[in-house]
Amino acid sequence: MANQQLNSGNQRVDIEYRRRKSAEEMRYQIVSFALMIFLTLIAFAAVAIKFNPWYTAPFIILLAVVQVIFQVYYFMHMSHKGHEAPSLFLYSGLLVGLLTILTFSTIVWW
């Protein structure tokens, strides 16, 4: 994606290109920030209106997951090239972690 070294041979063009690219990326990031704040607001609102907990709980968890995807992919640049190993290990960690959480919310009931 955006941040690769380009070898057009002409340095100025390169830099111009890079500048444009990263400015564009910055716009994406502001959009994702706005979305994150928006999602947060919805989550808080969903709790504030005291709707049925059976709906609220999964709903706000979903919101959190979406928000985290924004964080990880845009803010932490995991969408960029060269993040194969990071994503492999992040997801593996996530898998182990989710398994742990699943266990603790099912077979530790006493």
Binding site: N3, I15, F75
Partner: protein, 208 residues
């Protein structure tokens, strides 16, 4: 490319955080560390979920009685915003704009400090409501999970300040650019954890 080399705006590489072998290693190593941190926090979350509202007698405060939306909201906005400001800082780092980068990291640190302050205020409030680290398993689990996160924020603050002070006079080079980058990764990760804390601990606590 050599770490000590001096750069100009023109010669600054596109990915300063990954342009030497050392920095590539640092970058990767830090991501791996975050993979481990994921499991660490997941274990703490799991413990919290298992012990939520487990108090010795029913008269003691439960999650429902403790948490309040406004305070959590303020803390959340502080931390989320600090995530954006550190993105700005990295943006300027990539453009070799050292001063601007420092400014944005400074703001990030301030927001982080604000978050910590709100957390400390919150904890003292709970202690007055007899919800302490030693009052119940619920209390222990709550303070451990949220406290671990708070500890990460505090460590992040120290880290950020050290980096800024240390490099105030040197400007950017390939030796410290990856350090700034890695710090910003850490800071975002803390934010990710907080998103789950405010959802799972606070919001779901209030939902019941």
């Amino acid at each position: 490319m050599q770490a000590e080399e001096k750069f100009t705006y023109e010669t600054w590489p596109a990915e300063p955080e990954r342009s030497t072998l050392e920095s590539k290693n640092k970058f990767l190593g830090f991501w791996l560390f975050l993979g481990g941190e994921t499991v660490l926090f997941a274990s703490l979350f799991a413990t919290y979920i298992a012990l939520k509202d487990k108090v010795p007698n029913p008269s003691m405060p439960h999650a429902k009685d403790l948490f309040e939306l406004p305070l959590t909201f303020v803390a959340t906005i502080l931390l989320l915003t600090s995530s954006l400001t550190s993105v700005y800082a990295i943006y300027h780092m990539k453009n070799f704009a050292f001063k601007k980068m420092m400014l944005w990291f400074g703001i990030t640190a301030l927001l982080g400090a604000g978050f910590l302050a709100s957390e400390i205020y919150e904890f003292t409030k709970y202690v007055h409501e007899h919800h302490t680290f030693t009052s119940s398993a619920f209390g222990s689990a709550f303070y451990t999970l949220v406290g671990f996160h708070g500890g990460h924020v505090a460590f992040g603050l120290l880290w950020c300040l050290t980096l800024m002070i240390r490099n105030a006079k040197r400007g950017l080079n390939l030796y410290n650019a990856p350090k700034f980058y890695v710090f910003s990764l850490y800071w975002h990760f803390i934010d990710v954890v907080w998103v789950f804390i405010f959802t799972v601990v606070y919001l779901m606590g209030m939902v019941g």
